[in-house]
């Protein structure tokens, strides 16, 4: 698996992402600077990591979405190449038109940094095949503007076409406004584009990939990508935690 991690001024999760990719795939990703106009030849996966691109002063992701490298990312996506956009990356992907909708300020207008629970809605996509449908995973979030909003027609299409891959849920997998901490529409946490090759999510799976991090629930996402792309490395074990709507010890 040949991956590329984009780097913008103000991004601060690119090293975490690179470490996670290298750990799971066995291959170091290329770090691609925002002024580059081309991706490395043979790139399978482009990752737009989290952080505060250009300080997020104007609007989260608005300036990064207009960086030269984003034209190359749009071209990569148009050819069917995979794009993973996390946190600020998700905001950039929405602002650049790679994904529909926008990320608004959290419902309580506060920056939130904590672990949250996500339910995997389907496991037949490149981004979720490392999990089981219905599985609940624990992943950290750190954002002030992660409240996913789109017009009613877009939401209807996202839901109808099965493009919502993760939702914020309670530890036992139930939809509950209390656990939808940022107020996202339909508790949407991660979505794909129409073609299914661009995926954006607010939480940080790259920060839960090693036992030393206290949890490895994020590893399944990268393992799934490696499996999908036929990576030489064996697929990492699926999450050993049994957070599930069917109980802590069951698998969906």
């Amino acid at each position: 698996m040949k991956s590329a991690v984009l780097v913008f001024p103000g991004i601060n999760r690119e090293r975490d992402m690179a470490r996670a990719l290298a750990l799971v795939s066995g291959h170091e990703p290329a770090m691609v600077w925002h002024t580059d106009t081309e991706l490395p030849t043979g790139t399978d996966l482009v990752v737009i990591p989290g952080g505060f691109s250009y300080g997020d002063y104007l609007r989260c992701g608005a300036i990064a979405s207009r960086a030269p490298v984003m034209d190359a990312v749009r071209a990569h996506a148009a050819k069917g190449g995979l794009v993973l956009a996390v946190c600020n990356g998700f905001q950039i992907a929405c602002e650049s038109g790679l994904l529909p909708g926008v990320l608004m300020r959290n419902a309580k207008l506060k920056f939130i940094c904590k672990d949250v629970f996500l339910r995997v809605e389907r496991s037949d996509t490149p981004f979720t095949r490392g999990y089981n449908a219905g599985q609940v995973i624990r992943v950290p979030v750190a954002h002030g503007e992660g409240n996913y909003v789109a017009d009613a027609e877009t939401i209807k299409r996202l839901e109808g076409e099965g493009r919502v891959l993760f939702r914020y849920v309670s530890p036992d997998g139930k939809l509950d406004p209390v656990w939808n901490f940022n107020g996202a529409t339909n508790a949407i946490c991660g979505i794909t584009n129409e073609r299914g090759n661009v995926f954006g999510m607010m939480p940080h799976p790259e920060n839960h990939v090693e036992a030393s991090m206290g949890c490895t629930d994020g590893r399944g996402l990268f393992a799934g990508l490696v499996e999908h792309l036929g990576g030489a490395q064996p697929v990492a074990e699926k999450s050993t935690r049994r957070w599930s709507i069917f109980g802590r010890s069951a698998r969906a």
């Binding site: 001024p9 300036i63 909003v149």
Partner: protein, 220 residues
């Protein structure tokens, strides 16, 4: 023979030379060009002009709002009781390199370029070295304005899907410069511009005077 200067006249000569070097140069103290940045605050600076200290801080006169700043070097005029600012824009800003700005064309592209740069007080921050190839376009052109006695320009950006509009103003004089952002959701542009126009006279550039004030300003 020892190289040390033992004679009294020689010692006196050296002492006089040292004293002369310590006397302030009146021209440099009075000249604006001679001012150096002594310390910064997200909304202001402390300048050392010869032996004088000069403090400039941007303030907003409205009891409903308080100035706060974040670790990214951005200040915000926030409403601690948000309901008191219903229908009012979010206001934030940061200090810019005013000399660079004043050398620029001060148009649409120059304003967008400023928005790509971190606040000047973040000296170690990564700064883009390229020039934006695809700047955002203002939906209201570029207009002139005055704020806190500083002159400047403004533009309007519309972020359609989020139903959010931002008016960006850039103001400066020979000593200091700021970007100020006014952001509001679901705002009709003409009405929003009128709202912002009404807010501009509330900004003041506080000029500190007196050692005690400066000392307090310099305290962490």
């Amino acid at each position: 023979m020892s190289m040390r200067l033992r004679s009294l006249p020689a010692r006196v000569l050296i002492a006089v030379a040292l004293l002369v070097s310590l006397v302030p140069n009146p021209t440099s103290a009075e000249s604006g060009d001679a001012c150096e940045l002594a310390s910064t605050h997200p909304a202001g600076v402390l300048l050392r002009c010869g032996l004088q200290l000069k403090s400039l801080v941007l303030a907003y006169e409205d009891v409903r709002r308080q100035r706060r700043h974040d670790p990214q070097g951005v200040f915000h005029f926030v409403c601690p009781i948000e309901e008191m600012c219903d229908g009012q824009p979010r206001i934030s800003g940061w200090m810019i390199d005013h000399t660079k700005w004043r050398r620029s064309e001060r148009g649409d592209a120059a304003i967008f370029e400023l928005l790509r740069q971190p606040p000047i007080i973040l000296r170690g921050a990564a700064r883009p070295v390229d020039v934006a190839s695809d700047p955002l376009k203002s939906i209201c052109g570029v207009f002139d304005l005055e704020l806190a006695g500083l002159s400047g320009q403004g533009v309007c950006y519309d972020f359609g899907e989020s139903q959010s509009t931002t008016i960006v103003t850039v103001v400066s004089n020979d000593e200091i410069g700021f970007v100020l952002l006014f952001n509001q959701r679901n705002a009709e542009l003409t009405a929003f511009r009128e709202t912002v126009d009404a807010l501009l006279p509330r900004f003041k550039l506080e000029r500190a005077s007196g050692d005690a004030y400066l000392l307090r300003w310099m305290m962490p």
